[in-house]
Symmetry: C2
Subunit: 228 residues, 2 copies
Amino acid sequence: MRIPRETFSYPYPHPAVTTDVVVFTILGGRLSTLLVRRANPPHQGEWALPGGFLDIDEDLDTCAARELAEETGLRDVFLEQLYTFGATHRDPRERVISVTYYALIPQDSLATPRAASDAAAVGWHAFDALPPLAFDHDQIITMAHRRLVAKLDYSTIAFQFMPETFTLSELQCVYETLLNQPLDKRNFRKRILSLDLIAETGNMRRTGNHRPAREYLAKHPDTVEIIK
Amino acid sequence: MRIPRETFSYPYPHPAVTTDVVVFTILGGRLSTLLVRRANPPHQGEWALPGGFLDIDEDLDTCAARELAEETGLRDVFLEQLYTFGATHRDPRERVISVTYYALIPQDSLATPRAASDAAAVGWHAFDALPPLAFDHDQIITMAHRRLVAKLDYSTIAFQFMPETFTLSELQCVYETLLNQPLDKRNFRKRILSLDLIAETGNMRRTGNHRPAREYLAKHPDTVEIIK
DNA sequence: GAAGATAGTGTTGATGCTACACCTTGTCAA
DNA sequence: TTGACAAGGTGTAGCATCAACACTATCTTC
């Protein structure tokens, strides 16, 4: 925790600026979001998004990535600015502008979130069963989810949920989870393969007592491309 | 101009927060953007986006709308948050976070922008012939333009450029200007009419020495709907 | 070797998009 | 008054894209 030794003065009042991150992953077939339980007032004991104050010499993206790393230990994941929330009394302490981001984590990765110093607990929560949230964080999550679903349609964002290698069935499950509806297997495979976004590794994935599946990898795993 | 009588102190450094607005309209058949010439340093004499500092008790949207009204006299226009820019040294004075918006003004409306107190001049500039811009405002305009063109495809945003009543040819001209390509007249009319977004006023618009055109109005002029 | 579980594969009909040309209706000037 | 001009207004046919749909293949386990 930072110990202030001096104060910082301005001729006009300045708001505080934070970044908050909506972290999505797919855990056990359910879209899930990372929440931290607040250790301190305001909203002590309530669940909230991971996030924190912007350092004065730190870029916004860097701040979001740092908060994400601090809360989850994860680095180099997909992270994109979402929207900036700044209603006048969204934080009772002082005027706070929150630049929000959303991050996507490969499904069932062993992301062991560790509680940061100012959080009493941290954990994944199924998106369709979220607890009450502090501040306006419910609005933020709602907007992040809408953005995510919208981007499924016209970008390769779903690949950000995939581990390095995966099968077509696993990819289809991700789409079905995010869209919350079943998809036709043949049409799905036709569309994905026609986009020329994935390549066979040559290996077969054998899991369970059934026919093994071809293993694929994304051709451009680090970029989210606009398609169609 | 505000005269500070006191200073505002915080235990940690706070950035300043501004809103900047990219105002688009179509003027003489060309997509145009409103710029102000800066009266004061930094970047004195350069062109910049209209915008200014957030009041401490003012919502972000309100701030953007206020800046827009102050610079152009326009109210109740389409205004939507774009992105938040916060690179550490984008403003040489202090750390400044800019929450940017874009606004759309009906084409050829007699928007007589008046110079605000801190601007030496204000005027419309064709988008394809912009002067050098202060700060990172070129990036902001580029992003606003991309957003605008993208939204043409899946929303009714183009109607925000139309006056209360208009003809189909005028609407087509707006699309052609924004997309920077000609469109087929029959296909365009079929698509627009099939969307059930406009209604005939019953009047005819007679301009020039040729057959008069049917006059239409938007059924929901104040809302931008997602289509398809 | 039979049962169970998931992998993998094509065709058809419907729908939507693109390309394309001519007649209509007004103004204006000879 | 009439002919030239200028933009308004209209339909069809081919093509590509999307949705619906069922069976065989391959592996494990008992």
